[in-house]
């Protein structure tokens, strides 16, 4: 049975469709525009007006950045921190979550308390900075991995999931004399792919996108990840833009040089940016359902 369509209903449907279309345009345009510029001839980009497709197609910008040794090493650092960070983070987060999901765990109340407090109160940036220094983690690759081993929000999601797995599986294994270690790694973990995939992706994206720890604790250029390289290129391009702005009132020649220089930097920036986000954007359609699943699990609890 369909309810009658009032004037308000028609308005609502129109409003909904219109908002969605506006949202889609606003969201996608900046991405497509950057992609187009990265694939467009740098001098042609200077003329302005490149929208969502390259006008004079070229791969020059990408060739330029891949000729740069710095980009390779940064990319490698990003991949390494993402892989190592995800595996180790998943390990420590899931073991803790599994333990805390057991009512029989001695000291469970204290452990849980210990985990909840830092979610709402933290020592802050300065004390953390000195802790990292005292531990000798500055200028080390491990500063990307070790401080991020346990994420408490992720842990709570996993704990909720484990608490809802059927007890029968575990009980029968206990009767057969299996240890909790064995139960976790051989029985529970293999049947928990929905949550492990979700949390792995959360951790992975976190590592891929991190820039602050590199800015704060690492000076060694060889250890800088992709986000840091992108940041320095962006700042150079802002610099170039400022040069262009001040030169605009001066003679035409100076202004032209500045503009052309600006666009070269701009093309390079766009290409670097596309290279940085490409793995995420490519995987995104396939993995997004896992991200959403995580939030769904979290909201059951709430």
């Amino acid at each position: 049975m369909r309810s009658r369509k009032t004037f308000g209903d028609v308005m609502l449907v129109t409003l909904v469709w219109l908002s969605m279309i506006i949202m889609i345009v606003f969201t996608l345009y900046p991405f497509l525009n950057s992609l187009a510029i990265s694939l467009n001839n740098a001098d042609d980009t200077t003329r302005g007006g490149v929208t969502i497709y390259p006008r004079v197609f070229t791969l020059r910008n990408y060739q330029t950045i891949f000729a740069n040794q710095k980009v390779y090493s940064a990319y490698l650092i990003t991949i390494m921190r993402t892989v190592l960070g995800t595996i180790s983070g998943l390990f420590f987060t899931s073991t803790l979550a599994f333990g805390l999901s057991h009512k029989s765990l001695y000291g469970r109340k204290y452990y849980t308390m210990l985990c909840l407090i830092p979610m709402y109160f933290s020592g802050g940036l300065i004390p953390t900075y000195f802790l990292i220094r005292q531990l000798g983690l500055t200028n080390s690759f491990w500063v990307y991995v070790i401080p991020n081993l346990v994420n408490l929000w992720n842990m709570l999601l996993m704990r909720t999931y484990f608490a809802n797995t059927p007890d029968a599986l575990e009980e029968s294994a206990r009767i057969d004399g299996a240890s909790y270690l064995r139960i976790f790694f051989q029985i529970i973990l293999p049947i928990s792919t929905p949550i492990t995939a979700t949390i792995a992706l959360y951790i992975g994206v976190f590592h891929w996108n991190s820039w602050f720890d590199a800015a704060m604790y690492v000076n060694d250029q060889a250890l800088k990840p992709m986000q840091s390289v992108l940041m320095s290129i962006i700042n150079e391009s802002r610099f170039a833009e400022q040069i262009a702005a001040t030169a605009a009132g001066a003679s035409l020649d100076v202004s032209n040089i500045a503009r052309s220089n600006q666009t070269n930097v701009r093309s390079i920036t766009m290409a670097t940016m596309i290279v940085t986000i490409l793995p995420i954007v490519m995987m995104y359609p396939f993995i997004q359902r896992y991200f959403i699943k995580g939030i769904m699990i979290g909201s059951i609890k709430g």
Binding site: Y29, Y111, G123, G124, L125, L131, M155, I277
Partner: protein
């Protein structure tokens, strides 16, 4: 459970704590390494808060410097920079609370109203996308989007005759708060809506059917059923948002201002977190910056507790 097992368990319950741990070593060993990491990386910095009540000098062992009482906090209150920083933090957070908090709810309600399944799925997928890129990338995309030199926003506004000349948005401090709000909506609206979409999906379909029989319109169903059903979720997230009022997004402020390199924006973009970073790390005034950090953490915590208590008093779903 056999007699023997029962007696053993009973004995263990009376045993000292460490013996109980030993008895359960295979479960404890899964928990203890992670707990040690938490103690180290979350609790040791909490102890480090004592720095805010001391005068730390480089070379001092953290926490072993000379005590100065509330000197740092007194200086903080008199610092005109901190007043400005506090203003920016509160204004940006309140604007986000008023605008960026309800928008994902409205978006979730809209998504729920889409009957075209394919378009619904595509819209959702696209809306989550910007959440997965860093603020480093998002800021660069926004610089171009709002650029006065061929940026899409300016071109459209000028084309429609709404502007006479393009505005260099990112070179004008007075536009920063609006940019902070817009870019945050752009990046997080879709993602923040998921939890509401999940809550809506769990509404009993029979409620809608009953309402239809009573002749309710779509607008009425949206208002009286859907919105009412997600009310507990809204309250819960509201508590979290209020509890993070003094955060105002460090990454966003840093990236939209080229790490505070854009002095034209700093006047409006400098928030507590960026101030702690600038003063503490760049200017090496460690104790002073730590005090600013403590100020933020304490007020945030008090706000969280206050919001939670208020929700509880009003008979709403509270956090704890």
């Amino acid at each position: 459970m056999g007699m023997l097992e029962k007696r053993r368990t009973a004995a263990v319950h009376r045993a000292p704590f460490w013996q109980r741990l030993l008895h359960q070593w295979d479960l404890q060993i899964l928990v203890i390494p992670s707990i040690l990491f938490i103690l180290l990386f979350a609790y040791v910095p909490m102890y480090g808060i004592v720095m805010a009540f001391q005068e730390f000098r480089l070379g001092d062992f953290p926490g072993a410097s000379q005590w100065v009482g509330l000197k740092q906090f007194a200086a903080l209150m008199k610092d005109p920079n901190f007043g400005r920083v506090l203003r920016n933090t509160v204004v940006i957070s309140l604007l986000k609370l008023a605008i960026n908090f309800p928008i994902p709810i409205i978006f979730a309600l809209f998504v729920n109203e889409l009957r075209h399944e394919r378009f619904k799925r595509i819209s959702q997928t696209i809306s989550y996308l910007p959440h997965f890129i860093s603020w480093v990338v998002a800021a660069r995309l926004m610089f171009d989007f709002f650029s006065s030199d061929g940026g899409a926003v300016n071109q459209v506004l000028v084309g429609l005759g709404l502007l006479d000349a393009p505005i260099p948005f990112f070179n004008r401090g007075e536009y920063y708060w609006a940019l902070a709000v817009f870019t945050d909506v752009w990046k997080e609206m879709g993602w923040n809506s998921i939890i509401f979409i999940a809550a809506i999906a769990s509404v009993d379909i029979q409620m809608y059917e009953a309402a239809e029989i009573d002749g309710a319109s779509r607008v009425q169903k949206l208002w009286y059923i859907t919105l009412a059903a997600i009310r507990p979720t809204i309250i819960l997230l509201l508590i979290f948002t209020v509890g993070g009022l003094l955060n105002a997004n460090f990454d966003q402020s840093m990236m939209l201002t080229n790490q505070m390199g854009n002095k034209l924006l700093q006047e409006y973009a400098d928030i507590i977190d960026t101030y702690v970073y600038r003063v503490g790390i760049s200017q090496a005034r460690f104790s002073y910056a730590a005090a600013a950090g403590v100020f933020k953490a304490v007020i945030n915590f008090a706000l969280l507790m206050g919001a939670n208590m208020l929700a509880d008093r009003l008979g709403e779903s509270a956090l704890f």
